[in-house]
């Protein structure tokens, strides 16, 4: 499986990364190199593998469903690039 430039651009859009046109070719090359490397996994027969029983690490602990954190808007906003009225400011979304 080999990625064409159109697919590289589509993935970049999905990942919300702007690609300058001069980078597409080298990225296409690198990504295909990595995919070739990953391709080796197809040699392995995984038809008998059950992903559900994972032994030692399968038990996650439960906790009570209660509010145990919060109430510090100032802290949360302290690193924001732009703030107004206790909210994060972004470019207009709805015209």
């Amino acid at each position: 499986m080999s990625l064409d430039q159109k697919t590289v651009k589509r993935i970049a859009t999905l990942a919300r990364i702007k690609l300058n046109p001069d980078r597409i070719e080298s990225l296409q090359h690198d990504l295909n190199r990595i995919l070739d490397f990953i391709e080796e996994l197809n040699e392995v027969d995984t038809s008998q593998v059950d992903l559900l029983g994972d032994g030692t690490f399968s038990t996650l602990s439960f906790r009570k469903d209660t509010v145990n954190d919060g109430g510090y808007v100032d802290k949360i906003l302290s690193n924001a690039p732009e703030v107004a009225c206790n909210m994060f400011v972004v470019p207009k979304v709805v015209e």
Binding site: L27, L35, L41, L60, P81
Partner: protein, 494 residues
């Protein structure tokens, strides 16, 4: 003779402080001075001397009253992946430059609770993605070690700043994190000890996420005893990390000297890679002899899926990274690059804020998770991860620990690095299986390469049995009698 404070292990410094041979302020000042003299290594992204001295002063007061805690007054370096309240935390990325977390990571809180002094935040590969500390936005780190040709060498990565700092005497011990080898490989390259504990031993709360099912914190130290002391302080059950373990944390330091008599050590033939260097192979043979001489029984074992670990990792780690790094969008914190629309703002911010390697991994991760490819890549890789794990489970029916080299080569020069991403990925070929299987593993400096550079040996243990690693690691360390960089430096300058 005046004690050289920079040469002391964590345990020796702890005992010196208790006996009041020197004060925490004196110890901290010695390290701050050394940091100032070694800025060319670029080991730290941020030094925090005032905070360090303030804490050292508090520690001295406690020590005077005989109320010293486990790490009272001991100057540590913190990998800049751990959130520290009110202190810049960057993960080596432009996108987090200037970010001051409003909370403290559990790991650093645990260390603070034991009285540790923080010297600053150490450099790392951007978002811990790399094996040479060359992807950091804040510049690459130089190893204090030099080859005869005098070229600048990598300290390894991603915990490259931490390893360089411990090796060069710029911190007595450091925190690191290990997703595919990021503690053990730099430890091997710099002649230090590094342990990646079992997944779940250390809380991931407040540790900037790379690949959450693989990430685990651990220490980089001068010797095996120090690693035991550090890990004991770092490990805890933490309700804020649902994958953290509530199993009892043993007193690791107690077992360090217990030896390996009667223990069975597995040697996996699959780790004998094609083209593995002679010096690495003969060090491995030497390690086998040392353990045998200490009374261990050597058993040949098979880990048949070893060769698939690295490609499996390069599906799973980027997939998890692409999801974890979706949060950096220029809205709530970190860098913002303006755009006319919200999507443009996201795209501009992420394009400028992330470096090349991080972008590559996000794109690969996005691709393998995208509609139509999820089963072919991600589910397939998860299944092979299960097979790798089963290999280890079967092996640990027969043996108590496994011995392998840590890295296929010693440290390389910064200008010798490959431009092929896959060649760079091969650095982790001997370390990455352990992360997939969530097992604990330690790297111990055991000898030197043909070029006179440090090489480590790796011991792998069963889940939640770090004890055997400290026992075996100590045996290797004693037998190797490795001369660290600090000692080499002082003997050559006589």
């Amino acid at each position: 003779m005046k004690t050289n404070l920079l040469h002391l292990t964590l345990a020796e410094a702890r005992d010196g402080l208790k006996k009041k041979i020197f004060s925490a302020v004196e110890l901290t000042e010695a390290y701050l001075k050394a940091m100032g003299e070694h800025r060319h290594l670029n080991a730290y992204i941020l030094e925090t001397p005032e905070l360090a001295l303030e804490q050292a002063l508090k520690s001295d007061k406690r020590l005077a009253k005989g109320e010293g805690r486990a790490l009272e007054g001991l100057p540590l370096a913190i990998k800049d992946l751990f959130c520290t309240e009110g202190i810049q935390t960057t993960a080596g990325s432009h996108i987090l430059e200037g970010f001051k977390p409003p909370y403290e990571s559990t790991i650093t809180q645990n260390l603070k609770n034991e009285g540790a002094v923080f010297l600053g935040k150490t450099n790392l590969d951007e978002f811990a993605m790399g094996s040479a500390n060359i992807t950091s936005y804040f510049g690459s780190v130089n190893s204090p070690w030099k080859r005869q040709d005098g070229k600048e060498l990598t300290p390894g990565g991603s915990s490259g700043g931490a390893a360089a700092a411990v090796s060069a005497g710029l911190a007595i011990a450091a925190t690191g994190s290990d997703t595919g080898g990021s503690i053990r490989q730099p430890a091997s390259f710099t002649g230090t000890v590094g342990i990646k504990p079992t997944y779940g031993r250390c809380s991931r709360w407040g540790m900037v996420a790379f690949a959450s099912s693989l990430d685990q914190a651990g220490p980089i130290t001068r010797d095996v005893r120090d690693a035991a002391i550090m890990l004991e302080a770092m490990a805890s059950y933490d309700p804020k990390d649902s994958t953290s373990s509530s199993r009892e944390i043993p007193c690791f330091e107690k077992v360090v000297g217990q030896g390996v008599k009667g223990l069975r050590v597995g040697i996996p033939k699959e780790y004998r890679l094609d083209g593995l260097r002679d010096d690495v192979l003969s060090l491995w043979e030497q390690g086998i002899k040392w353990l045998q001489e200490a009374g261990a029984e050597i058993v040949n074992i098979n880990l048949p899926h070893t060769k698939y670990s690295l490609p499996t990792y390069y599906v799973l780690a980027p997939a998890e990274a692409s999801a974890n790094l979706a949060r950096y969008d220029g809205v709530r914190y970190g860098l913002r690059v303006r755009g006319k629309t919200l999507d443009e703002l996201y795209e501009n911010t992420r394009s400028e804020g992330f470096g090349e390697e991080v972008q590559r991994r996000i794109l690969i991760g996005t691709y393998v998770l995208s509609a139509g490819y999820f089963d072919a890549y991600y589910v397939k890789a998860q299944k092979i991860r299960a097979l790798v794990t089963h290999d280890f489970e079967a092996a640990f029916q027969k043996v108590d620990m496994i011995l392998t080299p840590t890295t296929p080569t010693p440290a390389f020069a910064l200008d010798e690095r490959s431009t092929d991403p896959v060649v760079m990925y091969l650095n982790d070929v001997l370390t990455v299986s352990v992360n997939l299987a969530r097992l604990p593993a330690i790297s111990v400096p055991a000898g030197f390469s043909q070029e006179g550079l440090p090489l480590g040996l790796q011991l792998i243990g069963p889940a939640f049995d770090e004890n055997v690693l400290f026992r075996g690691g100590r045996v290797l360390e004693e037998a190797a009698n490795f001369q660290p960089w600090l000692h080499k430096k002082s003997s050559s300058s006589l």
